[in-house]
């Protein structure tokens, strides 16, 4: 027992020491960044720092980020001149999101752009002061990022990537008029996809068609899921979905053989082998988010009173090569939207 108490006290003192070291470390280092931000504040050309926290890599998220940076550039915030961008990508590992958020809070960045829902939730949990703009989030209210979409009320606002699902299903019916059964493919672990799939199934039923659905858990399942669904349906609908966005070439490999048209949630997926979409252009969405950021950086608005914005225009995108492969005739009024 004596030894036990001795080791316990040893453990306790280590813990205290650890904290103390942490403190003294910080004490020695904090003045430096504080000082540097002070001097930059005095400069006539004010230097701002924007932290970008991105959940994972894929085309849509990357385009949103590019669009955001473009909007800042177009409005006088040029990277390397008066703008520092601290871009951090969690590579799909959620435990990294927390560390990245700490980094932004500690560096006292002027604004944070959070790309995808977990990233936004992570940074919103760490600060109630730094303005946060989120994009590629479908439902801000359900993610509890804002009080309401109209009046966020806190330090978070942004742009939603909610898809025009109904219009996409209409497009499917227009391109494949003799379709009777529509296959719906999505990832069961992605909230946004589940929500969109639900809306899609409703839209399909409203048109008097049947649906079959197959879900995957990760990209390893994609090939078999696609193979199993092409036998049961005349056309496939895939909502915006992180797994499918990266795995579209696999889907294309299967559907090109079975000559099944694939309508996707976003244009990046059409580039990678889908047939068509009427969708959000993530670069435009990022640009729109960037314009919101400019207002905040100029002190003209604050997130609490900026309603969640959604995309105003949707683009038709049709993959001409895929249409030829599966022998599908594109109606004349849509032919101008064919890419490739």
């Amino acid at each position: 027992m004596k030894k036990f108490i001795k080791t316990l006290s040893c453990f306790l003192s280590t813990a205290v020491l650890m904290l103390a070291v942490g403190c003294s470390n910080g004490g020695a280092n904090t003045p430096a960044p504080a000082g540097s931000s002070d001097t930059s504040g005095e400069n006539s050309s004010k230097n701002v720092t924007v932290g970008i926290i991105q959940y994972m890599d894929h085309v849509a998220l990357d385009s949103a980020r590019e669009g955001f940076i473009e909007a800042l550039k177009a409005n006088g915030y040029v990277e390397g001149e008066n703008l520092t961008i601290d871009y951090q990508n969690a590579q799909g590992d959620q435990s990294n999101l927390s560390t990245i958020s700490d980094r932004f809070v500690s560096n006292k960045v002027d604004l944070v752009l959070a790309i995808a829902t977990p990233a936004a939730q992570s940074i919103a949990g760490k600060t109630t002061e730094i303005p946060i703009l989120a994009t590629a989030v479908t439902d801000f209210e359900a993610a509890k990022l804002v009080d309401s979409n109209e009046a966020p009320g806190g330090n978070v606002s942004g742009t939603t990537d909610m898809n025009p699902i109904k219009e996409q299903i209409d497009l499917l019916a227009k391109l494949v008029p003799d379709a009777k059964t529509v296959g719906v493919l999505y990832t069961s672990s992605e909230d946004n996809s589940v929500l969109q799939a639900k809306l899609a199934k409703e839209a399909i039923e409203n048109l008097g068609l049947n649906y079959v659905e197959v879900t995957v858990t990760n990209s390893n399942d994609v090939q078999q899921a696609t193979q199993s669904i092409v036998e049961k349906c005349d056309a496939i609908y895939i909502p915006t979905d992180n797994v499918f966005a990266s795995a579209m070439p696999i889907v294309h490999g299967v559907t090109a053989q079975s000559k099944t048209p694939v309508i996707c949630g976003e244009s990046g997926m059409v580039d990678n082998g889908g047939l068509a979409t009427l969708g959000i252009n993530y670069k435009d969405l990022g640009y729109q988010t960037g314009l919101m950021a400019v207002k905040i950086l100029k002190g003209e608005a604050s997130p609490a009173t900026m309603p969640i914005e959604s995309a105003t225009e949707f683009d038709f995108v049709i993959n001409g090569i895929v249409a030829e492969e599966i022998g599908l005739e594109i109606p004349e009024d849509l032919q101008q939207y064919i890419i490739k």
Binding site: A15, G26, N29, Y87, Q94, N96, T99, P118, G125, S188
Partner: protein
């Protein structure tokens, strides 16, 4: 800098509980138990669902513990009663938990922003978010370390430790090694679930993908702890696990702080773990004389 280090310490303390769980199976029982990837998310899922349904956060965390115990029991039964190899039993439960976690949450992600959590009362006392996590994390870790130190000193605990070391000898003593393995797995997964529940409440969301890669983090923390902080007696081993988990987080935080390109992070993690794993080999190379002297004795 202070914020980053403190952030890493707070996260490390929560992951330490998971690390101790991994240690129980990986080192004490000598089983690589992959169930934990599912259990971590399960702990988070149960706690998040219970809290958003209006349950007290501490009761929700306790409920997560129960879920974890059951997950461990499942793996234990698959392994010892149905004679499925340990690695495979763990993988089976892990896959099953993916569906179960989705069922528990009803969706893939539950937000805990603006919700009362186990940390709320400390935050209401005026502590910053990070400090609240550190204080509560320390309390949880100390209670768990003391409990395990006591438990593995009892006859039952010693039997579990002996099972991992020399099952034949243990059976010769008339102890049922299957029961010992089950208890170990149950205990381990219970701890991992608590860890998941606490992590979810601190990062303010539970997500079905949370557990992905967690076994690597757990093993890396165990090994970093052992290599850097020694393993003299059982108590210092437990403490070294905690320090190992914190060190792992600090390393990641410093790497991010230095501004390593985001895409290289995984590579760096793998290299860190490989170095930690191979340190004992290097030590042998560097001190051949010492060892030969020891062996000569």
């Amino acid at each position: 800098m202070l914020q980053i280090i403190l952030g890493a310490v707070s996260l490390g303390l929560l992951w330490a509980i998971m690390t101790i769980g991994v240690y129980i199976t990986y080192r004490i029982l000598d089983i690589a138990d992959l169930t934990v990837e599912g259990t971590l998310a399960m702990g988070a899922a149960i706690a998040a669902q219970a809290i958003t349904s209006g349950m007290n956060p501490y009761a929700a965390t306790a409920l997560a513990l129960v879920g974890g115990l059951l997950a461990g029991l499942t793996t234990g039964i698959l392994h010892t009663q149905l004679k499925i190899p340990a690695l495979l039993s763990g993988i089976l439960t892990m896959i099953a938990l993916y569906s179960i976690n989705l069922r528990i949450m009803g969706k893939a992600n539950i937000s805990l922003l603006r919700t009362e959590t186990v940390y709320s009362w400390l935050q209401n006392l005026g502590l910053s978010d990070t400090n609240a996590v550190i204080v509560l994390g320390l309390i949880f870790v100390m209670v768990i370390v003391c409990f395990l130190y006591w438990f593995f000193g009892t006859e039952l605990g010693s039997a579990i430790r002996a099972t991992g070391n020399n099952p034949k000898m243990v059976r010769a003593q008339g102890i049922n090694t299957d029961i010992m393995k089950i208890i170990g797995l149950v205990l381990s997964n219970g701890l991992v679930a608590i860890s998941g529940a606490l992590i979810a409440q601190s990062q303010s969301f539970a997500d079905v993908q949370m557990g992905t890669g967690s076994i690597v983090i757990g093993l890396a923390s165990v090994i970093i702890g052992e290599v850097l902080f020694g393993k003299k007696n059982f108590f210092s081993r437990l403490v070294s696990l905690v320090l190992g988990a914190i060190t792992y987080r600090i390393i990641i935080a410093l790497v991010l702080k230095m501004g390593m390109p985001a895409n290289d992070l995984k590579l760096f993690t793998a290299i860190t773990v490989a170095i930690a794993l191979s340190l004992p080999v290097f030590k042998t190379y560097l001190n051949p004389v010492k060892i030969s002297i020891k062996e000569g004795k």
